[in-house]
Structures are given as structure tokens and as C-alpha cells.
Symmetry: C2
Amino acid sequence: MKHGEPFPARVAAAVEDKGGPVVVGLDPRPELLPPDLVAWGRRQSTDPRRAAAAAVAVFNRLIIDAVHDIAVAVKPQLAFFEQLGWPGVQALEETITHARRRGLLVIADGKRHDIGSTAAAYARAYLGPGDLGERKGSGGTGEALFGALESGLEADALTVSPYMGTDSMEPFLDACRHYGKGIFVLVRTSNPSGAELQNLRVQSGAGTLTLAERVAELVMRWNEGMPRADGYGPVGAVVGATEPAEAARLRRQLPGVLFLVPGYGAQGAGAKEAAAAFAPDGRGALVNAARAIQYAWQVERPGEPGTADDYAAAARRAAQRMREELQAALQGEGSR
Amino acid sequence: MKHGEPFPARVAAAVEDKGGPVVVGLDPRPELLPPDLVAWGRRQSTDPRRAAAAAVAVFNRLIIDAVHDIAVAVKPQLAFFEQLGWPGVQALEETITHARRRGLLVIADGKRHDIGSTAAAYARAYLGPGDLGERKGSGGTGEALFGALESGLEADALTVSPYMGTDSMEPFLDACRHYGKGIFVLVRTSNPSGAELQNLRVQSGAGTLTLAERVAELVMRWNEGMPRADGYGPVGAVVGATEPAEAARLRRQLPGVLFLVPGYGAQGAGAKEAAAAFAPDGRGALVNAARAIQYAWQVERPGEPGTADDYAAAARRAAQRMREELQAALQGEGSR
């Protein structure tokens, strides 16, 4: 993984290498872990959250090993680590480290945003390096005082939220511009209430468009002048696959913007829905499945306990199937 | 601190007890810590982030001790802990624990949001308890498998972001409804680009209003049927003090909604600006200052190094001054 390279170049190489745009979401839910791992975790600590975090770290490692040659990236969902407190964040660090070691890109799914100086701290946390966004020559940085401050949580990309506007994006854009990182801005989310604000009609110039389309305009602007690869920039968009017509419209509005499409499988969208997020040449999007891969065993054999190995094998089968389904759907699209 | 009590009741009691609505933001910036604490931290660990996290935890404790009888609440800004990885989250746990021990309310400033099942994990992380939002009777919870799962990061309230709509709020609303917690929804933020989306005009019924006003309507709806105290519900709003006329308009639009006003001091707003966020009776808002209190020493004596004790004493003076300035401004308002 070359670090100077723009994020979209790493994505394009990985999609080529893995034969498809599969992203595996890591949403480690302690209540869904295989029983043998739960028992193992409980032997590691009498502190429930440490026990759960230990099991989570091993589970993620198994899933990563099972899909490492199929998936382009893993997408750890930060909330599921944070709910276990600092041991959970330790498990996140182990998970990110293992994924990068196995040659996977890492998309930290945190949907972070804040005013500039605070957003800089989020950027340092998930996009590194430790001095990102600190004003040089303004009386010393934390780096100068403590040595190289790194969170241990450096990912390749971070999901971010647009509600606070351009200045709240600047530190993330700096990471894209100077450190080969990527971001995915929430544009249109796949949850049922996503439409509530995102589909409001807003005035823009003489006409109106939806709030999501207005955010899309900002995404285009934020992507301007950024390092590119094959026409794609590092500022991407989260676009839910549950409304294909809308996804197709946003796709046309956002040339050069990489889409991250959540909701494959468990949230009701399949390959045909996801295909709408791709450019006619079959590029330009990554598709994420979380539950449908991590807990595929529970779908394959409902009610059967299964072992960690069963879960890993089922995850591999599900990831392969997803890659094939996407290939088929994208070839269908290509012949439009 | 009674837990069954609605959040606004705890706020009202604390404002009465402390003589004002002062909230102290904890944004621990390693590069701004007093030199003696930096040196102490560096002796604790050769790992820079552990050294910094150790110093941060002690610094926060000093600030909390210095303002505990003046401030209603502390507001740790999660980004500054996350940038130090898991040791930073450990420092956050120590900070929250110490603040609650000293009788302060804790507002976790994370601006979190996600689809429902992920938002539930955020709610469990910051608003507890560990089984919040898990579907009972659906085949066992993590709680049943690992014992009581608690993040160690339970606060009294959390800041949340509205972009994903009502279903993304449900777990947070559950915490308000059943566990005496509060949330502050981003409505109008104080950063210069805040207006970019938040002041867009959106269609609503026959007329138009700003996106912030539309979010405010949702906040009113989310606050309906909630446990109340003295007319205030647990669903509050973040309203920046940098645009007083706008704050006053939102204040009129949102009876019964507690405002959290950031930006006091460092972000350029003073007591007069903040006063616009209060109801005519001088209630209904909390005002946050972070830098202006934590690093007051650096404003009082620019260029002088100062000790941790100097920082604590200066923070106390700054918090007292802020309380007085707010009292004066609110009395001025009362005589309108």
C-alpha cells in the first residue's frame, strides 16, 4: 500500500486486484458472535467489556482473513467499538492493523463532523498523521512536546457528515490533498428517514433541488483540484442503494466522485439496486455489506450455533457470492 | 445525581445550585498543556499517546476541581480524546468518572448519528445502559452472553446530528424517554460555514423556512411526550451564539427546548450574544466555553509558561467571570 498515492488510485488497484468492488462492513455485535468465541472471550477477562472486546478483535481477524483476497476494503463501524469503551477502541486498533497487514484498505465509518479545530482532531484520529491540521510555528505542537502522537487508528478513508459546511471539512480535505487519504461525505443515506431532510427541496439559484443534490454540489466543489486517479478524486459520497432512481441521478450529477453504497444484503438492497451507483463503465462505486457477510452463517443455518470457523467460512462464501452478483449486475449495466 | 429524574430536572437543579448556566468544555489539546504536566506525562510512558493521555486526564481533573462549584456541566469534546487512540478513551473515562464524582453533569460532545441499529450502539456507548436499543427476546443480548456490558463512558447527555432523520434518532430518544438522559441536536452551528446548508431555504407546506428552522420543527416533535421538568424536555438544541438575531428567532420557535450554546469566548461570542438564546425568564439555555476557561492562563499571561496550578486558578477565575457576565446579561434581558 503506497502512501503517497491518491486514495482513488489505491481503490482502483484494489478493485482490479480483487475482481470487484466488495467492501465488508465490520459491525461487531457482541450478541451475534459465535458461542465458542464468546466462551473464549469470557476466559480472557472477568471485565465484561474486555471479554467482549477480546472476542470482537479475534472475530474481526477471522473475517478479515476469510475475505482478504475478495474484498477491496473493510469498513469498521466505529459505534460498535465505542460501545465497549477503551477496550473496544483497542480492538479497533487491532482490527485496523490486521486489515492493513492483509492488504485491505480501511474505511473508518464514523460519520464525524465538527468545527474546524475539532474536525482536525478527528482527522488526526482516523486519517493521521498526528500533526495534521496543527498550525506550525504557533508555539509548539503536541508532537514537539510528546513525540509522534498517533492514534493507532489511522485508516485510508473516513465517512463524514456535511451539516456544518465547508470549513468543517477543511482538515479532512487536507488529509485528502496531502496524505493520500479519502473521505466519503453523507449525501443520501439508506435508512427510511433519510429522505426526511435529504429530500427536502431547497432553493438554489433560479431553481430548486433536493438537499442531497445541494450537498452533492458541495462534494463536487470539495473534490476540485484534488489528486486524481483515472478521473476519480479522493472526496467520495455515501449514497444508499435503496432508491436506485435517485442513486442513478446522483451518479450522473457526480462524475469523478467515488460512491460508497451501504445497505447491501441486510438493508434490503441487492446487486441490481447497487448497480445504479456505478458509472456506465462499471467503475466509480464501492458496495458495503456488513451483517450479510459477518453473520452469513446465521442466515445459512438459522438456529444452529456454529463455530468461529463456520462463521469465517460462511463469510467467505457470502463475499464470493456478493462479488459474483455485482459482476453479473454490472455486466448487465454495461450492455445498456 | 438521581438517575430516574428527567435530564432537564437535573439541569434546572444544577443551574440553581451553581448560580448560572456555565458549561466548561474539555477540549484537551496536548500542545496547550502546562509544561510541568507535559514533563510529568512524559515520565509516565515512553509511548507518546499514553504520555499525552496521562497528562490530559490529570489536566481535566484539575480543571474539573477548579470549576466544580461554578459549572453546571463539563462538555468533553470526544475528538480530542479519540486522537490519542485507546489511551485517550481511557482518559475520557477517567474524566467522566471524576466529573460525575464532583457532582457535575457530563455532556459528551460527539455529534454522533447513524442508521438506527448503529445509533443504538452510540447510545449504549454514551448514554448507557449496555442493553439500550437491543431487541429483547431476539435470541440473547450481549449482556446475557458477557454480563453487564458498559462502555465506562456514560454521560448525562450527548450531542447528535440530524442529517439522517427521525429513525436515526430513535435510540437516543429512548435514552431520553426511559433513562433520564438528554440530547442536544445540532440546529444552527457557530462556525462560519454553518450557514452554508443550515440557512438554505427549504419548502415546508405553503411557505419556506431555513433548514435550521426545519430541523427545529423536528426537535419540537422529538421532544413531544417526553418527561419534562418546569416545561423543558430532554431533547435540546445546539444553537451557536454568533448570530444573536437568529438565536432569538429559534428561541421563540422552540419553547420547552433547552439550548446548548457553544462558542463563548474563543469563538468570538460574549454574554450579550449568548443572552439571545435564553427565554425571557432567564432560563432555557446552557452556555459553553472551552479554550477560554481551560487555557485562560495563556490569555491572562501570554508567553508565560505557568504551572498546572496556575492553569487551574486561571480557569476558576475565568469561569467565575463568565458566570458573572452571564448573570449581568440575563438581568439586562429580564428587564426588556
